[in-house]
Amino acid sequence: MSLILKQVFSFFKLLNSDQGTGQIAAGMVCGMILGLSPVLSIQAILVFVAIFLFRVQAGAAFTTAALFKVIGFALAPLFDGVGGWALQLDALRPLYTEVYQAPLIPLTRFNHSVVMGSGIVAVALAAPFYFLCLHLVATYRTQVVARYKASGFWKLWSGTGFYQWYCKYEALHG
């Protein structure tokens, strides 16, 4: 848990810096897919491992996953409709029949209407969501962080002894 919390805090730190925009966006995309996948499914485990193994921002991924888990519950009827429609397409029935009997693939639970629906939505939104995140992070840094750092309150706060002490502690211990 402390590992995940540490990643979340580092996400906010990185968000407020001027580095790693791509890592944050990639992490948020992974988080969206993780949040929309059922917890006990092979695709969730794969995304989880990918978040750890590849240099995407894990904090961004877990924060976004938590957010999309809530959104997923709210949109379950929509996913059920999309997934039900896809699973009842006659043209795809032979493919479904084949993969239903294949090893491992059924462990994705693709034959469940909500899982299939959320999977389709997640894959379809992955690329647009990545670019949207890049844009949002950049906008956040220019519109919110820069303005905040230029404010009188921040100047006053950053001049305090406590803040100086914290910066020194952060530089030494990370």
Partner: protein, 628 residues
């Protein structure tokens, strides 16, 4: 001081490999140390809620590598006797096919259920859960079953007999008859009569009156008839009379038309008054049903004595059948695989894409049930098997079959035979079950228990069989039971009832019950026959019939008292109105007839005058010609 140049990091986070391995290691450790314990507790918790009393599982082992599951020392508490088990199972072992597990399916090629015992004593009494409150009933079907059973339990014919024989006074029970339909109808008709009387009077005023006919009479009286031999004069007189006559005929016609209308309306009103008698019969029936007069029908009595236990069995059968349909849905029309069970949209639907020779989502290919007598003699001698319990029978191509036979000598349960077939391969699923028990002990059974009468037996031996089918939501159940070596327990406040029941108990060596049930509440048709009900009805027939006749008479008298007064008042008022209206109409008709008579006489006179005038003229002309 030269700054240390940081090495550029690649896309793979190599430093995360160790934490990831640690995470997987912890997961493996959890499954090794805690998973079995947690699964056992979860199983106990779920089974306890399903059973309504404590369920214990002695041990549970799973192995992912070997694909096995094993649990044993299962004790299922009997909610009615918490110090005993309903049944206990020594060992349950399942082996899963890894090939199927990799495909996300559960296929069990062989399973074993061994050392089954019934009625064994527990080390400590099992915890019994409180009964489900009425508001917590999970489904509409369960609520309907509960309503049907509550109705059956409320019906207590023996208690009704007892109260009735102890001295039944309808006037005390009814106190006063309220909301009688017949009285309400009389009030309605009284108001209608008042309104009708006005309408009828208006009709009476709209037709020619006595004065009209008097005027015509005086007109006719004033006419001078005869007194001349001039034919022209005579014709003029006749024309004047004829004019009055035609006016008279018009008025007579109007009177006749009005009279006919009034006759028809009054006849309709009389018919409405006649409906009061039918409503009195309905009031009588309702008053009797409110009093719960006991029925002397043996089938009603049998239903009162055994209805609840038959309903309990039927409800249980339907519950199992519904479960089977939920988890083994029949093939959908025109589709190769079963239609996914409808669920709330948010929980989604599971589609199956089975193909021949593939695995269904769940398939228990064969489970052997075997149990042998042990030293303690607690276990039963059982043998049987369950075959092809599958979530998609159309794919498997075989129905689920369950066969069991054996006995529990210690519990004195012998000759158990069970054969159940759940065929969900086609669109029309058919479940059939045949079960019988050659003998089993009955510790005690209340057939009727109330403050007035307690009837049942403290011990008996029983045997029974049941045959049932369930298809397209319709259940058909035929159950027969025989009870012998009966030790009746009889207590009734009514002396005649107690002695009758005691006589019946002496006479009957075996009690037989045959019950048939078809459908489901609220459209459940149940028919129960029992020689016990027949014997009790015969015994009570004479006493009850006399009392029933007396009760009918007294209720009729109470009803007459309330209805006859207003009814008499209504009919006398109606007769008065009738006689007034028709008296007036008759008087007018009579007057019209009298005027008609006068007119006819006058016309005859004019014709007579004309004839004699013509004769006189002809005679004088002849005399002139003959020159007489």
């Amino acid at each position: 001081m030269a700054e240390k140049k940081s090495k550029k990091k690649g896309p793979v986070r190599t430093e995360a490999v160790v934490p990831l391995l640690v995470i997987f290691g912890l997961i493996a450790l959890y499954f090794t140390l805690f998973f079995d314990w947690q699964l056992r507790k979860a199983f106990e918790w779920g089974a306890t809620y399903g059973n309504g009393a404590e369920v214990n599982v002695g041990y549970l082992h799973t192995s992912f590598l070997h694909g096995t599951f094993e649990m044993g020392a299962i004790q299922v508490t009997d909610p009615a006797e918490p110090e005993k088990n309903r049944f206990s199972v020594g060992r349950v072992n399942l082996g899963f096919l890894w090939d199927a597990l990799l495909r996300g399916k559960v296929v069990i090629p062989s399973a074993g259920i061994t050392n089954i015992a019934v009625g064994t004593h527990r080390d400590h009494p099992g915890r019994v859960l409180p009964p489900e409150p009425p508001g917590m009933i999970s489904t509409a079907a369960a609520a309907m079953w509960r309503t049907a059973r509550e109705k059956a339990m409320k019906s207590s014919p023996l208690a009704d007999f007892s109260q009735f024989l102890q001295g039944f006074d309808p006037s005390k029970e009814l106190k006063e008859l309220k909301n009688l339909k017949s009285v309400a109808k009389i009030h309605e008709l009284s108001q209608q009569l008042a309104q009708n009387e006005q309408v009828w009077n208006q009709t009476l005023n709209s037709i020619p009156t006595q004065a009209d006919f008097d005027r015509l009479q005086s007109e006719l009286g004033g006419m001078k008839v005869g007194g001349t031999s001039n034919p022209l004069e005579l014709k003029k007189q006749a024309d004047e009379i004829q004019k009055v006559v035609s006016e008279l005929k018009g008025k007579m016609k109007a009177v006749e038309y009005g009279a006919n209308g009034l006759t028809s309306e009054m006849s309709n009103f009389s018919k409405s008054v006649g409906q009061v008698d039918d409503l009195m019969k309905e009031d009588m029936k309702e008053a009797e049903s409110g009093l719960k007069l006991p029925s002397l029908n043996p089938k009603d009595l049998a239903q009162g004595l055994f209805g609840d236990s038959v309903l309990a069995k039927a409800e249980q059968a339907q519950k199992y059948a519904d479960l089977a349909h939920k988890y083994m849905p029949p093939k959908a029309a025109g589709k190769p695989n079963p239609e996914p069970a409808p669920r709330p949209r948010s929980t989604g639907r599971v589609f199956e894409f089975g193909k021949p020779h593939g695995y269904p989502a769940f398939w228990l290919q064969k489970a052997e049930i075997s149990s042998k007598l042990d030293d303690s003699n607690e276990a039963g001698l059982l043998s049987g098997e369950i075959r092809d319990a599958a979530s998609n029978q159309a794919q498997v191509g075989r129905p689920m079959v369950m066969e069991l036979k054996g006995e529990f000598p210690r519990a004195r349960v012998n000759g158990i035979q069970l054969m159940a077939t759940l065929d969900h391969r086609s669109e029309r699923a058919v479940d059939t079950v045949r079960a019988s028990v050659a003998s089993f002990p009955i510790a005690g059974r209340d057939l009727s228990h109330s403050g007035d009468v307690s009837f049942g037996f403290s011990k008996a031996s029983g045997s029974g069989s049941v045959e049932g089918t369930y298809s397209e939501g319709v259940m058909r159940l035929v159950a027969t039971s025989q009870f012998h070596d009966l030790d009746f327990q009889i207590k009734a406040k009514s002396g005649p009832l107690e002695s009758t029941l005691k006589d019946v108990a002496k006479e009957l060596k075996t009690v037989t019950v045959k019950a048939t049930a078809e459908g489901a509440p609220p459209k459940l048709r149940m028919d129960i026959e029992s020689n016990l009900a027949d014997a009790i009805t015969r015994g009570l027939q004479h006493q009850l019939q006399a009392k029933l006749d007396e009760a009918h008479k007294r209720i009729q008298a109470m009803l007459d008292q309330q209805v006859n007064g207003p009814k008499r008042e209504l009919t006398s008022k109606m007769d008065a109105v009738k006689s007034k209206i028709f008296g007036e109409v008759d008087a007018r008709k009579k007057k019209a007839t009298s005027v008609q008579g006068t007119a006819d006489q006058k016309l005859a006179s004019t014709k007579g005058g004309a004839t004699s005038g013509a004769k006189n003229k002809a005679a004088s002309n002849l005399k002139k010609k003959l020159k007489l």
